[in-house]
Amino acid sequence: MGLAKRIIPCLDVDNGRVVKGVQFVDIRDAGDPVEVAKRYDEQGADEITFLDITASSDNRETMVHVVEEVAGQVFIPLTVGGGIRTVEDIRRMLNAGADKVGINTAAVFNPEFVREAADRFGSQCIVVAIDAKCVSDSSQGNGENKRWEIFTHGGRKPTGIDAIEWAKKMVDYGAGEILLTSMDRDGTKIGFDLELTRAVSDAVTVPVIASGGVGELKHLAEGVTEGRADAVLAASIFHFGEHSIEEAKRAMAAAGVEVRL
């Protein structure tokens, strides 16, 4: 009995439409964020994250409407990430019905933005997203000297900043949660970078969401049992109808992880 570990499906939204080919056998419109979010809610998702991948700032307004629509019909926590750069961006998303916003690149360029955001809206709604990549492994196996660096712009630009130090700093600045994505594992389907996840989770006092690399259900439980994450985020494993959230939860429960069933 106690706090459940969370499963969070992540939806990429481009100009108001869910992309990356979400597939459900019996859904009318797989590109409609409301329909997809409702489906995940019915399956027992603990939260939903929307990543706004719209390239043009002209289309940002569309995301506000998406959030409004979803928040009127889906009553679980909603996080919106992608393109959050100003206090005004946050205010609009929260007013539209988002519960949390994910800040990534903007935090790297201006860490004070995180402090300002947390002061203004409370730490509980500020998620700092960290994209980390392993940059050295001189230990050749025992992992003691592993280092991870944070990258911006979808993992393309190195920053020279140590991921663990950065996570600690962001919590000091007021982050209420860390969304940690391994750029080495993202899209590989071979599982989370468990060493990275554990290193960050042990280093910070706030919840950590593991992300990047889930290809099988057992990976989700590993993120919690070995990575010590408080929540696990996945996209493709749920989108293509390979597995439902409910199946994922049963698999986690079978592995001894407390979940909301």
């Binding site: 928040a71 009553f75 519960d99 809206f121 919840p207």
Partner: protein, 216 residues
């Protein structure tokens, strides 16, 4: 038509609360307002809240809504507190170096601190207490109607309420140690979790509220 006023004092989750109230069955009308007249004319009132207590109480006082909430409490009409809205109903909070609150319940609001541990294995527990946790319904109450024992609700908070005595405790939850998840007294019911983010169980709680007559 019966009206539910959601008190608007600029603190975050009020739109989510209003949307959830609008979503539940019934012929009630939901108004989001900071107008004393509208609040006092409503059949039911919700005090939501997200963020820091200093700002919450500061805004309530600035808008002169602190006395309005007390009037609602005294009027016998159903009053629901949610999250920081619940915490504001105690006498004072340790947040922001100490903040005087509404005092509808005797007791205080305390921090989890940074050294919260699981008594079973000594492991550090993350703060905020964030996610779905099981609520033990320690008191039968019309607000728990059709909600199963130990149902999970969504929590996100770093402070918890500590009533002066056990009398008002209507629900409890365990995170490192057992603490209060819901308090009730006459026409007041208040919860630490977010019913508007707790899927079906949360909607049921709001459905119960829009039909509750304010009698325990």
């Amino acid at each position: 038509m019966n009206t539910v006023a959601v008190i608007d004092y600029g603190m975050g989750n009020l739109h989510s609360v209003a949307k959830a109230l609008e979503h539940v069955p019934g012929d009630h009308q939901v108004v989001v307002t900071s107008d004393a007249g509208q609040i006092l004319a409503a059949d039911r009132v919700v005090l939501p809240g997200v963020g820091a207590m200093r700002d919450c109480m500061g805004e309530l006082k600035r808008l002169k809504l602190d006395t309005v909430v007390k009037q609602v409490a005294d009027s016998g009409r159903p009053l629901l507190g949610v999250c920081v809205g619940m915490q504001a109903m105690l006498e004072c909070s340790a947040e922001n170096g100490g903040v005087e609150c509404l005092g509808l319940f005797s007791g205080t609001v305390e921090p989890f601190g940074t050294d919260l541990r699981d008594p079973l294995n000594g492991q550090h527990l993350k703060v905020p207490h964030m996610g779905w946790n099981q609520v033990d319904q320690t008191m039968p109450h019309p607000m728990w109607k059709d909600i199963l024992p130990d149902t999970r609700f969504y929590f996100v908070h770093s402070y918890y309420v500590q009533p002066a005595g056990p009398e008002p405790v209507a629900g409890s939850v365990v995170y490192g140690f057992p603490f209060v998840a819901a308090i009730a007294k006459e026409n007041i019911f208040a919860v630490q979790f977010h019913p508007e983010k707790s899927a079906q169980a949360g909607l049921q709680l709001y459905a119960n509220f829009v039909t509750w007559d304010g009698q325990a």
